[in-house]
């Protein structure tokens, strides 16, 4: 590298998820420790063994999109666009000319248009139809959301979609971070989205027998599995000097990032892989581990993840592991799979900007294998200098981002 790395600011945030249809609504729910998980209301739910989920409720797509758009937008794309509109409005950017050419969009999703697959499989297999809607392919493709954001906002720079299961959003945001940091892009719209709460989507997860039938209770000794959620989180990552020169409000600095691969097992997590990703993010950002006050855990609520993650945190932080706070907001919004890192980054922004640490709700019994300060059941106020956001995907692909107070 001949020139120095550029600093990266977050100047916009948007979301729609089971806790709220905007960032303020979501952060308020996180502060209050509200649960967005409830009985699933989907077709054929009576044929499912798992009947709870974090659904986006009171959502009328027609209020946001016209008829032509609805024909083209799967629910995961709809969520993305709603979140992107909020984020870009907050950033106050208008993409034209050179800025448009140097701005792009990188998003994460694990399944893309799962609902579109599901619906059209029903048509051809269950109902025996021999014709499907002409837009099935452009609607279900994993990059549909990124492309529609680019079209709506005239983003003409590097744009693509990243798919690494539960780490998709973190890997996507890492790409965006690197592009701005290296000076390849001035602004990147980034985050992720997921919407697989349909019969086929939930049925597939059910098969693994890692789903809870009653609640997501990360770190609690009586935890019994994960709960799926849906929604999107989108952010504006902007060159710090560019943001400062136009007087933009800066929500946080993206300070560091690392990724690692366990190269071990397709579903079981690895302490070493998780630890390497966390330690790598600290090294990448030149971050003193003692300044990390909060970790938004991957914290799925499965037996294996939570104890492995806690052991990895203890390895990386040593004695400081007992002083920092670690919580899993999946207890409130569920596991948004490819979109989860994006929605969870909001809790890191809340920690470093507002000094509020989101709780792990549903916590009932201490587990000696998760003996860290997991912020049980109630949010806490604290001055947080640096926050980490963990994502550890099936397939052993880990991605950790670090945010710094600005």
């Amino acid at each position: 590298m001949t020139t120095g790395l550029r600093r990266v600011a977050i100047t916009g945030a948007g979301t729609i998820n089971p806790l709220g249809h905007s960032v303020p609504a979501t952060l308020e729910a996180m502060r209050e420790g509200r649960c967005g998980i409830g009985p699933l209301e989907i077709r054929d739910v009576d044929r499912l063994a798992v009947r709870i989920g974090g659904q986006v409720r009171d959502f009328a797509a027609e209020a946001h999109f016209n008829r032509q758009q609805l024909a083209l937008y799967d629910r995961f794309t709809q969520f993305t666009l709603i979140a992107a509109r909020e984020a870009i409005a907050q950033a106050g950017l208008d993409f034209a000319g050179e800025l448009a050419a140097r701005s792009g969009v990188v998003l994460g999703t694990a399944g893309g248009g799962v609902g579109t697959w599901d619906e059209n499989y029903r048509h051809v297999y269950e109902e025996g139809k021999n014709r499907v809607h002409p837009f099935v392919v452009p609607k279900l493709m994993n990059n549909a959301a990124a492309s529609h954001v680019a079209m709506e906002y005239n983003l003409k720079g590097p744009s693509f979609t990243v798919s690494t299961a539960c780490a998709s959003s973190n890997h996507a945001m890492a790409q965006a971070f690197q592009m701005v940091r290296l000076g390849m892009s001035r602004v990147m719209v980034t985050g992720g989205s997921e919407s697989m709460l349909c019969f086929g989507g939930v049925k597939a997860w059910e098969g693994l027998r890692v789903m809870s039938r009653d609640a997501c209770r990360p770190f609690s000794a009586n935890r019994n599995g994960m709960v799926q959620g849906e929604g999107a989180g989108v952010f504006v990552f902007e060159d710090m000097e560019h943001a400062q020169s136009r007087g933009a409000e800066i929500l946080a600095e993206v300070a560091g990032f690392a990724m690692s691969s366990d190269a071990a097992d397709i579903v079981m997590p690895s302490k070493q892989g998780a630890a390497r990703a966390m330690a790598g993010a600290l090294r990448d950002g030149g971050i003193d581990p003692a300044t990390v006050g909060y970790i938004n855990a991957h914290g799925t609520g499965t037996l294996a993840n939570d104890k492995t993650e806690c052991a990895a945190v203890a390895d990386v932080f040593g004695a400081h592991a007992d002083r920092l706070m670690i919580s899993s907001t999946k207890s409130m919004h569920g596991h948004l799979i490819g979109g989860t890192g994006a929605v969870e980054l909001l809790s890191c922004i809340m920690a470093v900007r507002d000094g509020v640490v989101a709780p792990t709700i549903g916590y009932e019994e201490p587990d000696p294998e998760c003996a860290l300060d997991v912020v049980p059941n109630a949010a806490r106020e604290a001055e947080i200098e640096v926050a980490l956001s963990n994502a550890f995907a099936f397939g052993g692909l880990n991605a950790v981002l670090a945010l710094r107070h600005i």
Partner: protein, 100 residues
């Protein structure tokens, strides 16, 4: 138990052992009744796959959550325990329906 009943139970045992043997890449004759899944080299993913095969073979539903095996009301401590559990579930789930 009449001879037909005994025959059905032997059949269940053979089928379950066949499924476990296939998962463990062993001959059925090498699957000992007191063996644990660990002895047989079957990991959590292998267990979930075996349970799926058992459910399909006997048209039953096995209450097993990989996150809370001890709360699953289904003993997986040995091959014998698994066979006994499957026999009980077949009786419960098909017995009531007339022993189909």
């Amino acid at each position: 138990m009449d001879s037909e009943g005994i025959g059905r139970m032997t059949d269940v045992r053979d089928k379950v052992i066949g499924i476990i043997a296939e998962q463990a890449v062993l001959e059925p004759s090498d699957v000992r009744a007191d063996a644990t899944l660990e002895d047989l080299g079957i990991d959590s993913l292998g267990l979930v796959e075996s349970i799926f095969a058992i459910e399909e073979a006997f048209d039953i539903s096995v209450p097993f959550n990989a996150n809370a095996p001890e709360e699953s009301d289904f003993d997986i401590s040995s091959v014998d325990a698994i066979v006994a559990g499957i026999e009980r579930l077949i009786a419960e789930q098909h017995g009531r329906a007339g022993g189909a």
